[in-house]
Amino acid sequence: MTTTNRSSIFAGVSALLIPAAIGMVFFYAPLEKTMGSVQKIFYFHLPLAFSAFLSFFVAFVAGIMYLRTRRQIWDARLAASVEIGVVLTTLVLITGSLWGKPIWNTYWTWDPRLTTSLILWFIFASCLILRSAVEEEGKRATYSAVMAIVGFVDVPIVFLSARLWRSIHPTVIRSDSVGLESSMLITLLACMVAMLTFWIGLYKFRVSLQLQEAAASALLNPKH
């Protein structure tokens, strides 16, 4: 019961923080000189990307911990973070494309970061498909733990090889890392905090839901 209460606290706080962050994006942060109002999407894009990578890192750690301890809680954590990670990566790809269209004049380009996000999305979405295809709980947990670990190991390889296979590099991509105006930085940090609070709330909800589902199915068909 306490888990649910704590997750509602995080959800409640993020319900206040996210509108506040949106307010800051539109009323506090200054308009970017060359990109104009389009650049506002950056304040969501970066926190989304950060929390997506965080989800996959949590899934990786949970996968290792599951294989070591075989405790169900780690499987629930893995499942929750993979689910959230896939949703957030989808949003990252969408916001990135929307931002890319007016700025780079294309929705898609094979830049290392874009490539890495896309392949990450594929790997972890396939992990979700795998979970839906296996009925036995122990098997499902082991298989998805292996996939989460393998998938995470693949990330740096994808990033490095994407640099190699693409010889014509759009250099524009670095535009987001040049020094930010301090009010922009504060807005970005506010968005980051809001997003992370939201992430924790969502994560706790999903973990407790996974555990409840497991408990319910254990009641329905006791140990075959």
Binding site: S126, I149, V150, I157, V158, S161, W165
Partner: protein
Amino acid sequence: MSSLRQVRFLLCKDLRVELRKKESLVSMAFFGALILVILNIATGIGKQVDAETGAGILWVAVIFSSVLGLGRVFAREKENGCVAALLISPAAPWEIYVAKALVNFTLMTLSELVLVPVFYVLFGAQLNGDPLNLVPILLLVNLGFSVTGTLISAISAGTRRNEVLLPILLFPLLLPLIALAVKATSAALAAQPFSELLDQLEPMAAFCVIFAAVGYLLFPFAIRED
């Protein structure tokens, strides 16, 4: 020394089964050749492809046909409950992993002996690179595909949707390897010197090493039947 014998024993066993039934190899070569013919028609009859497109076509055929063989590597063991027998045999899980990866490596290499000549017959008119330069690329991809694929096929064979899940799980992981292979192959087909290929071959070798290590560590978990 004894693990070497175990691996050789398991490898010979699988190759003997393959030699008698010829199910994987024939379907791999046949399907691969079929894909090459389809792509030849798709690129437009009478048109010559350049090195870059040719490289992509060769790899589509190789990867898609290899998945057929890979799916059989474990499905064959699952069908009669042979995995359990393998696990209670004196062979350690990692020895099974190495043997299975070698089986798949052998099957891929043999099927490429058919596919690459077919590729040259259909698309070779404009490609003037030395075909021997393709050999290291092919071998590295076979190795990377086998070490990654054996781990993933142990997972997918444990589910009831093996044939569907295997490519879905495997292809995203292989993307970096294949992308590098396509780049190296297009350089080889465009008659660039071998030293030009090393930029791609080195990271490909690194991919093989990393995934061999990952497979070695994770395979015992993936194969165990609780």
